[in-house]
């Protein structure tokens, strides 16, 4: 049952990618910006969760919630302070700003608390190993999967059933037409950043529980990989980000399992190159035609 074990590992890491990728894809869908500071919001989430567990002793679920709330506030602040005034600027200006914001968050964190890593406590959640069909499943894995599934269901509900979700879809499809409906575009964009950043914050806490070690630059690689996952699934597509994240996690795990673990990170980039060559719109991407 070796392959089943690997599949479960792949889905666990894929869940983290998927949660981060959702923020990338939602923000891209609405303002066509690749928010490169998103990986750093994920890092902040991991640290808030860490302090919740080790300093404030509030337990796993409250720590997760606090991390999500703080990250959503951070996301809205980033949008209001850095991106809002660039809404009509060139895309490259916004992209460079995003990289600037990313560096600002990373090095402000280092300035405040230093660059040394921290370790999540091993008793963050109850630790137990279950054996199912000869496969070892840890309680951490179950918590990760359960959290991810709940958050994704919640997101689907928000996007499809609530008023703000419908406004988000309307704005991402046609901002001007959305204004004609009386939709407040600024608030809708802020809500998108808030939701996307909250998901990244949750991913940060889950990452800490699963991998233990966190540090101020931890957001870079998962951030880039989640971006690849979003492109793989079709950037702008929510089901695409979920699928892309899971797929990337599984592929990486398989690459490691067959003995190429040093090539694990490269695999993600090879996927990016292949998808850009053969299916630039991604798995769920729309073939956008330029309207004349």
């Amino acid at each position: 049952m070796e392959w089943l074990q690997q599949l479960i590992n792949g889905i666990s890491i894929g869940s983290i990618y998927a949660l981060i990728a959702l923020g990338y894809t939602m923000v891209y869908g609405i303002i066509k910006l690749i928010n490169f500071a998103h990986g750093d919001v994920f890092m902040i989430g991991a640290f808030v969760g860490f302090y919740g567990l080790t300093h404030w002793h509030i337990g796993f679920i409250p720590s997760l919630l606090v991390a999500m709330i703080i990250c959503s506030i951070l996301g809205v602040l980033i949008e209001r302070l850095a991106y809002k005034r660039l809404r009509n600027a060139t895309r490259i200006a916004a992209l460079i700003t995003a990289i600037g914001v990313s560096l600002l968050i990373e090095y402000t964190t280092i300035f405040i608390r230093g660059a040394q890593p921290e370790a999540y406590p091993s008793d963050a959640i109850f630790s137990k190993t279950f054996t199912v069909f000869g496969t070892q499943i840890t309680s951490e894995t179950i918590v990760i999967l359960a959290t991810t599934i709940i958050l994704m269901l919640l997101l689907q509900f928000i996007v499809h059933k609530t008023k703000i979700g419908k406004a988000m879809r309307a704005v991402s499809h046609d901002m001007e037409a959305a204004k004609l409906m009386g939709i407040n575009v600024d608030n809708t964009i802020s809500a998108t950043f808030a939701i996307g950043s909250a998901l990244a914050g949750a991913a940060g806490v889950i990452f800490g529980v699963y991998y233990t070690k966190i540090d101020p630059l931890m957001g870079i690689i998962p951030g880039v990989k989640a971006f690849i996952a979003a492109v793989l699934g079709g950037i702008g597509s929510i089901p695409g980000a979920m699928t892309g994240g899971m797929l990337l996690g599984v592929v990486e795990t398989i690459v490691s399992a067959v003995g190429f673990s040093t090539w694990r990170d490269a695999a993600a980039f090879v996927i990016l190159i292949l998808i850009l060559i053969f299916k630039p719109a991604g798995i769920f991407g729309k073939n956008t035609r330029e309207k004349v």
Binding site: K163, K166, A167, R169, A170, H173, D174, E176, A177, A178, K179, L180, M181, G182, I183, N184
Partner: protein, 236 residues
């Protein structure tokens, strides 16, 4: 009801699209604004809807100045627009599009009633209510865009080229529905290139050329006038 006085509107900072435009719409009327491509018709409607801000001049609606007010506030005050090219949310269902039209309303019962009213006006939309708006034909999308605007319960409805790209029979249908909406009590400002159709249902008309109102008056009289016939009615 609506009084536009001497407005200047610029596009992209330095291109002047409207030069001292003035016009008036009285309650209960159908007023049409006709003119060629690029004359400034769409710019005027965008300004009325709050998507563009006038640099000079005033816009008064129900006695209050609305020039430069944000789009949200204008929709709330009872002006809604059916934009050029329909602009339906093709990623959503017909019914979701109509619900978005009522975005600012809180009266659930009123919304339900208006949804029934829209379905009565456009039975085709009821048949396709669960279908994605992107799968509709051009004429059906025009109906959806109009239904969506009606869902905001406007006092003044702005229509931007509803006949564009539609088959003649569909144009007839759309125009008879515009008349029906007007008879039910909604004031209408209709922007059209199809001058013949527009003048036939309007009471009054304005002719706009390169950002300026060059002619205005009774729709029937304009239909007879030599200048309009030569320029917009193919000299019939």
């Amino acid at each position: 009801m609506l009084k536009v006085d001497n407005i200047d509107v610029f596009y992209g900072g330095n291109i002047q699209a409207l030069k001292g435009v003035s016009l008036e719409v009285n309650e209960g009327e159908i007023v049409t604004l006709i003119g060629a491509n690029g004359a400034g018709k769409t710019t005027l409607l965008k300004t009325l809807s709050g998507l563009l801000k006038p640099k000079k001049g005033t816009i008064e609606y129900l006695g209050k100045s609305i020039g430069g007010k944000a789009a949200q506030g204008i929709v709330k005050s009872g002006i809604s627009q059916v934009p050029e090219g329909r602009r339906v949310f093709s990623n959503m269902s017909v019914e979701e599009n109509l619900e978005l039209g009522a975005y600012l309303r809180k009266d659930r019962d009123g919304i339900k009633k208006d949804l029934q009213r829209v379905y009565a006006l456009f039975p085709r939309l009821l048949e396709r209510s669960k279908q994605s708006a992107g799968t509709l034909s051009g004429g059906e999308q025009q109906m959806l865009a109009m239904g969506r605007a009606i869902m905001a319960k406007p006092k003044l409805l702005l229509l931007d080229e509803p006949s564009m790209g539609l088959a003649p029979i569909m144009v007839q249908t759309i125009f008879s529905i515009i008349k029906e909406i007007n008879e039910e009590g909604t004031t209408i400002l209709l922007v059209e290139q199809n001058a013949h159709m527009a003048l036939s249902i309007a009471q009054r008309a304005y002719v706009i050329e390169t950002g300026k109102v060059v002619l205005s008056g009774d729709a029937k009289e304009l239909q007879e006038s030599d200048e309009v016939r030569a320029a917009y009615l193919g000299g019939l």
